[in-house]
Amino acid sequence: MRRSLKILSVLVLAAVLVPLASIGQGGGTLGAVQDRGKLICGVNSGVPGFGFLDEETGAFSGFDIDYCKALAVAIFNDPNAVEYRPLTAAARFTALAAGEIDVLIRNTTWTFTRDVDLTANFAPTTYYDGQGFMVRADSGINTIDDLDGATICVLQGTTTEQNLADEFAKRGLSYTPLVFAETAARDQAYDEGRCDALTSDASQLAAIRTKLSNPDEHKILPELISKEPLGPVVRHGDDNWFDIVKWTVFCTMEAEELGVNSGNVDQMLQSDDPRVRRLLGVEGEFGAKLGLSNDWCANIIRTLGNYGEIYARNLSPLGLPREGSLNALWTDGGLIYSPPFR
């Protein structure tokens, strides 16, 4: 008995220590992904437009999901070479740090503490979220200034309530807050017409809008009063992988700016514009420098489309306006901007 206990304790110790000794080995994330044959993408599976289960295809679908697919296309030229891990908000950074996922694309706001304290790297913002307003489509309200004197439904004791007060004081507008402790009660009050506008993050407004009794009678204003930039996140310590994620996002943005889309990408390969030729891998060795094939970006555009197409497919049906919002191209007054491919 005593002897077997001894052996057992030695075995347990060995089981604990042996793995510890080999921590820190292994190649980069790209190598691991290529060996595995698929990308593991941490997503949010329960947000309309950004990530949800489509029962028709039996697969995930949404804006964030499309960026997972874009990465898979960049690496494997196969949008289905992705394994999705639906993560809770609490678990996402732990999962990223633990190496459970290769990239986190789960409507995650880029903030100082997350970037620095949580040793994460934020790829360029794919969606500029922020506190916005939903109003009735026939109300004649088109800007925040039109909301002067309006009754606004808002959640109690949140930064949302604070932001609202600050913004309206700054603009010198008056309003009557209708305060709720529960989101369900707030949404119902708005649906019943007890307030003129509902304020929350724009992506949440879009989700709420789908559940109203008549979604088409409501619109979301393009203006935002707070900053919630959402984008892909990777771990510290693998710059090559970070570059791949960054430039995958930029690829979709640059393509839109240059007028390359899923329909014309193959004609664009013959284009004389050197910017297009470099983007699509006709000229230069841009893909190879990332460790990918040179037509990586062309593949992304062919399979998933450019930024505008991804936006139109996933977010426009939700009533999230692109025109006049921060998510318009920089040439149209928005913030969607890619550094040059050269």
């Binding site: 206990l5 793995p19 510890l20 080999s22 921590i23 820190g24 080995q25 292994g26 691991a32 599976s45 329960g46 947000v47 309309p48 437009g49 990530g51 949800f52 289960l53 489509d54 029962e55 028709e56 039996g58 697969a59 995930f60 679908s61 394994e83 891990r85 639906p86 993560l87 809770t88 678990a91 732990t94 999962a95 740090a97 633990a98 190496g99 459970e100 989700a207 789908t210 559940k211 979604p215 049906p317 939700l318």
Partner: protein, 417 residues
């Protein structure tokens, strides 16, 4: 009609010990005895009926007219098996045929308890899948086949029981027990596949989901946590201090930690300690967490049973010359385990429901998939229909478990001796 049949008790008494006579009563008498036996009970009955009416008046018109149930048949495949590849679904069907065939045969051979289980499962299967949910005739046919297998097996077993003398039934029963024993192996091989083989190509466990995953988690955890729990309970009673203290430490630590924490540790913290190349399957991690967690509770339940055994029993066993091992396994445990069936089944039921916590791991179980489907903007918020359906399915299985445990208690005479 209203009178109890007077001769119900005067049944013939031919050698075999018969169960106590059941007194049959007419419906009116039953009403009077059960619902209107005193003015207070009458008041309660009327009150309950009024409540039922109020709730039903709201729910029924909604359920029949307003509610849009289309989301459920449309997403049935996802709900039941998750991302299991379409081309490999025959394996799930095969498993169902195997399990139901075995259940039917056993129900026929052994009778009462199993028969009731089989009838409940069979009728639920027919009603739920065959009539309400499946539109596709191919699937209806397969469900019909399932029911046929179940009831056909039952008939076959029953014939065996009638026609074959009891001593010669034994080898049959043995074969069946052996089949049950190897069933889990067959199921795992079928569902998981053998990587690299042609026909049974491996299905990555990340593609398991839905009700299939809920079942896999619950059944495997229940089967594993029970022996572990019994061992822990015995360890806690042990006279060897090392074992006793180890068992106490384990039980108290696990019981002092929420299940969510254990799952979180198993799924997200563990990889931090493992080298980067080591990947333990998510499902195995979740099963380990559920097993370790529930075992601690089972251990405490069983300890209650152990302590309820009068000391005289142990002394009598020792006086008969039984050693400590034989005393434990032949005298103490059978009585102790029987006494704690209700508590343990309660634990299993809560384990079954707790499997929905695997969204932390992250796995896509029945509830998780349902919640993700209803976020599709296309459905515009049919949340209530979907959630009601999920609740109904959970209720069916948990109620089935508690019903069968009550029957098992009655069959074993818990609380009577």
């Amino acid at each position: 009609m209203t009178d109890a049949r007077a001769d119900a008790g005067a049944q013939s008494y031919e050698g075999e010990v018969l169960p106590p006579p059941t007194v049959r009563v007419g419906p009116l008498r039953w009403l009077r005895e059960n619902l209107f036996s005193s003015w207070w009970n009458s008041l309660l009955t009327v009150g309950a009926l009024a409540l039922l009416y109020v709730v039903g008046k709201g729910v029924l018109p909604w359920a029949l007219a307003e509610a849009d149930w289309a989301v459920i048949p449309a997403s049935l495949k996802l709900l039941l098996v998750g991302f299991y590849p379409e081309g490999e679904l025959w394996r799930v069907w095969t498993v169902l045929f195997l399990v139901l065939g075995l259940l039917g045969l056993s129900a026929g051979l052994w009778g009462k308890l199993l028969r009731e289980a089989a009838v409940i499962v069979g009728s639920a299967l027919l009603v739920l899948l065959g009539v309400l949910l499946l539109a596709d005739w191919g699937e209806r046919l397969r469900v019909g086949g399932l029911a046929l297998t179940l009831f056909g097996g039952m008939g076959l077993g029953w014939l065996l029981r009638l026609r074959v003398a009891p001593p010669r039934q034994r080898p049959w029963k043995r074969v069946l027990i052996l089949c049950w024993f190897f069933l889990p192996v067959a199921v795992v091989l079928l569902l998981g596949g053998i990587p690299g083989s042609g026909l049974l190509a491996g299905v990555p466990r990340t593609q398991w989901g839905g009700l299939l995953l809920t079942f896999a988690l619950a059944v495997v955890s229940i089967v594993l946590c029970f022996p572990l729990g019994v061992l822990l309970a015995l360890g806690r009673q042990s006279s060897l201090p090392v074992i006793r203290w180890a068992a106490i430490l384990y039980i108290e630590v696990i019981r002092g930690v929420p299940l969510v924490t254990v799952l979180f540790m198993a799924s997200l913290m563990l990889p931090l300690f493992l080298p980067s190349g080591w990947r333990v399957d998510n499902i195995i991690r979740a099963i380990t967490a559920f097993t370790l967690f529930t075992a601690a509770y089972i251990a405490e339940n069983v300890r209650g049973g152990l302590q309820a055994i009068p000391k005289g029993q142990i002394e009598a066993a020792q006086a008969l010359g039984l050693g400590p091992v034989l005393t434990t396994f032949l005298v103490v445990l059978p009585q102790a385990l029987r006494a704690v069936i209700p508590a343990n089944v309660g634990q299993f039921i809560s384990l079954f429901k707790d499997t929905s916590l695997v969204f932390i791991v992250p796995l896509m179980d029945f509830l998780g998939i349902a919640l993700d489907i209803i976020e599709n903007p296309k459905w515009g918020g049919p949340a209530r229909e979907m959630l009601l359906f999920v609740a109904l399915v959970y209720w069916f299985f948990t109620y089935f478990m508690s019903h069968m445990s009550r029957r098992l208690e009655r069959a074993l005479g818990v609380g009577e001796r």
